[in-house]
């Protein structure tokens, strides 16, 4: 159980060093992605202006306020509330995100599936759990919205955030086949029959 402070971008070795049970605090840069922009990138042939090599992405679509462009808000957006959405919907995009765009770390909630675990094993990556629904707290870790791509998809644009002390996040899926979600599912299924018997539903 190690706590890692990682400044993004990270190397393959840094990503592979993350193990289930560890915690992570991220510094510097974080990209916000989700359904519509992933569909645009991988199903509709659009390319992002961002270089995501070695970077971390969070499954999000923030609440933002349009403001004049300043040093503090270089993209003309103030972050009102930046939270995390359910990751499972993005499952089929993990491998292409890692292979084509070079992403190493995925931050989300609720966990992802076998395809993501396989991609982490093959390419070197990890999934970090943020507490879903704790968006007001998460917003305090965001310094600013630095730049926005595909803003025609707003709020499902691709967001580049400047972050400070983003965490602690829990490593819940790693490149060594570890998944907290699989373990919890297996345990729940093992308990199912006894629980059903107790409530007369066996």
């Amino acid at each position: 159980m190690t706590h890692h402070v990682l400044e993004t971008p990270v190397t393959e070795a840094q990503a592979r060093a993350l193990r289930v049970g560890d915690t992570v605090t991220l510094e510097k840069t974080l990209f916000g992605i989700r359904d519509a922009n992933l569909i645009a990138m991988f199903d509709k042939g659009r390319r992002t202006i961002f270089d995501m090599q070695g970077h971390a992405v969070v499954h999000t679509a923030p609440n933002v306020r349009k403001v004049p462009k300043t040093n503090e808000n270089p993209a003309g957006y103030e972050a009102v509330c930046v939270g995390t959405t359910t990751s499972q919907r993005m499952e089929r995009f993990t491998r292409p995100l890692m292979e084509r765009e070079g992403v190493r770390i995925i931050i989300g909630k609720g966990g992802m599936g076998q395809g993501t675990l396989d991609a982490f094993r093959d390419i070197g990556g990890a999934y970090l759990a943020v507490i879903g629904g704790a968006a007001a707290l998460q917003t305090t870790w965001i310094e600013s919205v630095e730049e926005v791509d595909m803003d025609d998809l707003n709020p499902e644009s691709i967001w580049r955030f400047r972050i400070k002390g983003f965490g602690p996040l829990q490593v819940t899926m790693d490149s060594h086949g570890g998944s907290v979600y699989d373990r919890v599912q297996d345990e729940a299924k093992a308990r199912r029959d006894a629980i059903l018997a107790r409530i007369g539903a066996a």
Binding site: A36, T60, A61, P62, N63, V64, R65, K66, V80, C81, V82, G83, T84, T85, T86, Q88, R89, K109, G110, G111, A129, I131, G132, G133, A134, A135, A136, L137, T139, T140, N154, P155, E156, Q170, T172, V180, Y181, R183, V184, Q185, E187, A188, K189, R191, R192, I195, L196, R198, I199, G200, A201, A202
Partner: protein, 290 residues
């Protein structure tokens, strides 16, 4: 009492903004109860973070969760209230759109086929406006629920048959809670609809999911299943955020409706831990926000 559409529009706007910032007291008490019973270390850490988030949102007057949801307005009109129904619904729609553009809030509503976002939280059939009536004199109550999508995607309907019995209803609920795991942002309120037609079954599941904690099913048989299932889901070990622990759900809520001799429908609709809801009661004396 005459219901003024201008007033309804302002209330609809205020309720949306209040709902995404202030968690109802029954849910806060629900967190206290879960904390007292949670023995898993990870579960306790996650619950603590959720409670901390509620405090941060209140202190900074920020949104509890980024998901502004699908807006639902439940209007209950009492006796001796004069109102123009069409104007009232239009006023709610305007208030909902104004909350989105003026606060601003993220518009989370799109056309289902083009996926176009009008940036108003409105669209075909949205906001959802349910109108009902009760016997309170000169009283109108409006409840606003921003229904988050992570838990709304945890919705299931099964048209069971009489031969499947009550056993199959219970199995269905347990299996769906396992299937959803951490995706629906536990600890949840598991809303269960039993009986009715397919649409009524789903509707009462949502009524159950959005009912305040501490309330019980008015039907004694429904209340019995509610108690049984509430205990059972917290023995699964799914825990807060699906990372392990006792606190999978605050409570299972059941609502029942009469059904057909050939039918035995069950529906599940889940509410995440950010169980947001805001109410306003309008009387000749003024508006009381709760």
């Amino acid at each position: 009492m005459l219901l003024d559409p201008k007033e309804v529009e302002e209330i609809a706007k205020t309720l949306y903004i209040r709902s995404v910032k202030l968690l109802p007291p029954d849910i806060k008490r629900g967190f206290e109860r879960l904390m007292a019973a949670e023995t898993d270390e990870t579960g306790r850490t996650v619950l603590n973070t959720m409670v901390e988030n509620i405090a941060v949102a209140e202190k900074r007057q920020n949104l509890l969760c980024q998901d502004t949801g699908i807006p639902i307005y439940n209007v209950v009109i009492g006796k001796n209230v004069e109102f123009d129904g069409v104007a009232m619904k239009e006023a709610i729609r305007h208030g909902c759109a104004r909350a989105t553009t003026e606060h601003p809030l993220r518009s989370s509503v799109v056309h289902p086929l083009t996926r176009k976002n009008e940036q108003t939280s409105c669209g075909i059939g949205v906001p959802i406006i349910n109108v009902d009536f009760d016997s309170r004199d000169e009283t109108v109550e409006i409840e606003m629920i921003p229904k988050g999508s992570g838990s709304e995607n945890g919705s299931f309907l099964q048209m069971l048959i009489p031969a499947d019995g009550v056993k199959a209803i219970k199995r269905f609920v347990i299996d769906k809670v396992i299937e959803c795991g951490g995706r629906v942002c536990p600890p949840t309120i598991v809303g269960v609809g039993i009986g009715g037609t397919s649409d009524l079954c789903m509707h009462i599941a949502k009524v159950a999911a959005t009912r305040p904690l501490g309330t019980t099913c008015s039907d004694p048989e429904g209340a019995k299943i509610e108690a049984e299932l509430s205990e059972a889901v917290n023995e699964l070990g799914i825990g807060p955020q699906g990372l392990g622990g006792r606190s999978t759900s605050f409570r299972v809520h059941v609502e029942v409706a009469a059904t057909h001799i050939t039918m035995n429908p069950v529906a599940v609709n889940i509410q995440c831990h950010s169980a947001r809801r805001a109410n306003a009661v309008i009387t000749p004396g003024g508006i009381d926000f709760k």
